[in-house]
């Protein structure tokens, strides 16, 4: 039984068809890396799964929650799948701890004390328990991204979408974020991540999806995809990437 079912998804921006019929089924606990050139539609696909983009055709469901464009269905879907962004998108007017507490209290109506306890736990989990009262602009990029992860985790999603979460970071900060993601993967969290970190994809992911011109061009286990790419496009992409 798949946790995330993506079936024949098509998405157009005006005349430009960016997703041309995507089919991916993700089992619980799988860690999927989506790789590909910019413009291949990988970020768009991820954003569709969370309902940040509407889809023109096909269907997406996460643990039975269907992607439909009304607020009620979107909320149900988003409670099941969290998202981490390239630009962190922490709320700058709130402390790190408050960032993690806010949606619990507002969306789930969790009492404040409970939300705070959960926030403390999640901040510990990403190694930032001591930064609970810091504002986002007092934190490094890597720390901000870890707070963003804690914020998503506090909603107890069953899957996480990561959209190039290390691309905006200085090189020396990348590893601290990836370490957190690796830990989550180890704990059995279902993850779909758009990434340029090929080594990480190879080490941690259960499957790799190579997207090209709005299609899933190649999909398979990382050792197969990276060691023996079948299509010339992937060969070329990996050649460029390495």
């Amino acid at each position: 039984m798949s946790l995330i079912e993506i079936t024949e998804v098509k998405k157009r921006f005006g005349d430009n068809e960016v997703l041309k019929g995507i089919n991916i089924d993700v089992a619980p606990g799988e860690v999927i890396a989506i790789i590909g050139r910019s413009g291949s539609g990988k970020s768009t696909l991820l954003r569709c799964i969370n309902g940040l983009e509407t889809i023109d055709e096909g269907s997406i469901s996460v643990a039975g929650a269907q992607l439909l464009p009304d607020e009620l269905h979107l909320k149900a879907l988003r409670l099941k799948v969290g998202m981490i962004f390239q630009q962190f998108n922490l709320f700058p007017h709130l402390t790190a701890g408050r960032n993690v507490m806010l949606s619990q209290m507002v969306v789930k109506k969790t009492p404040k004390a409970e939300a705070e306890a959960m926030a403390k736990k999640m901040m510990e989990r990403v190694g930032l328990g001591h930064k609970f009262d810091a504002y986002p602009d007092q934190l490094s990029g890597g720390q901000q991204q870890r707070v963003a992860i804690a914020r998503a985790l506090a909603m107890q999603p069953i899957a996480l979408l990561c959209d190039e979460i290390t691309s905006a970071l200085d090189p020396e900060l990348v590893s601290e974020v990836l370490a957190v993601v690796k830990e989550l993967a180890g704990e059995g969290m279902t993850l779909m991540m758009v990434t340029h970190e090929m080594r990480f994809a190879r080490d941690v992911c259960s499957r790799v999806v190579f997207m090209h011109q709005g299609r899933v061009h190649e999909i398979g286990k990382p050792e197969d995809v990276f060691s023996s790419p079948k299509t010339p496009e992937l060969q070329q992409f990996l050649g460029v990437a390495h």
């Binding site: 607020e71 988003r78 409670l79 998202m83 998108n89 806010l102 507002v106 969306v107 909603m155």
Partner: protein
């Protein structure tokens, strides 16, 4: 023939300045309330609301305040309704302020990064929750300096109401001039009083801007 002392002149002007202050307050607060209502219609998801407010703002920004005062004062008179000058002045200034404040505030709301909407959406928040907890708190902070700055425009805008006969500072200046034949002294005082009203506002707008920026950076 009576002689007017400088104190006589100044005292009369200061008494009239109370009406300038009152009219400014009424216009600014009233305009703020109407402007806030228009803002929600403008940034809401409906179709009619935004179009209506857009037209409203364009009309008020595209015509001189003086014409708006004339229309409020004489326009209703055509229908046999006798509009006192204070009412026409108040209504016109409130509607005029509302148009500008809506536009200022819309810019503030839209200057909040798109990522903030996306992040709060992805956490399951609905539109009103996003507005209340994420977008407006940030927009408000951005909005304070330009809003205070605009209050200066309101104070100066009240001077135009003298033309429809509302006796505030400028009108009092004209009346006193007619009695004293000392236009330079009188209007000098009038200008000075306006300056004393406006300068603290501009200055506090500047200070607030610096303060809120710093606060935003370092907390």
């Amino acid at each position: 023939m009576d002689e007017f002392t400088t104190w006589d002149i100044l005292r009369n002007l200061l008494l009239a300045a109370r009406w300038t202050v009152l009219l400014s307050l009424v216009s600014f607060i009233g305009g703020g309330l109407v402007g806030a209502a228009l803002l929600f219609a403008r940034i809401g998801e409906g179709r009619i609301g935004p179009a209506f407010v857009k037209t409203y703002v364009e009309l008020f920004q595209g015509t001189p305040l003086l014409m708006q005062l004339f229309l409020a004062f004489f326009g209703l008179g055509l229908f046999g309704i006798d509009v006192p000058a204070w009412l026409a002045a108040g209504v016109a200034l409130i509607l005029w302020s509302a148009a500008f404040l809506t536009e200022i505030w819309r810019g503030c709301v839209e200057s909040v990064a798109r990522g903030q909407w996306e992040a709060s959406s992805s956490l399951g928040m609905g539109y009103l929750q996003q507005m209340r907890h994420v977008i407006l708190p940030q927009a408000l902070r951005i909005a304070v300096p330009p809003t205070v700055g605009f209050s200066v425009q309101v104070v100066k805008g009240t001077a135009l109401t003298s033309i429809i006969g509302f006796v505030e500072l400028s009108k009092a200046g004209t009346i006193v001039t007619n009695a004293t034949f000392e236009p330079f002294t009188v209007y000098g005082f009038v200008a000075l009083i306006y300056f004393c009203l406006c300068w603290p506002l501009s200055k506090s707008s500047q200070i607030l801007e610096r303060k809120l920026n710093v606060a935003h950076r370092n907390h």
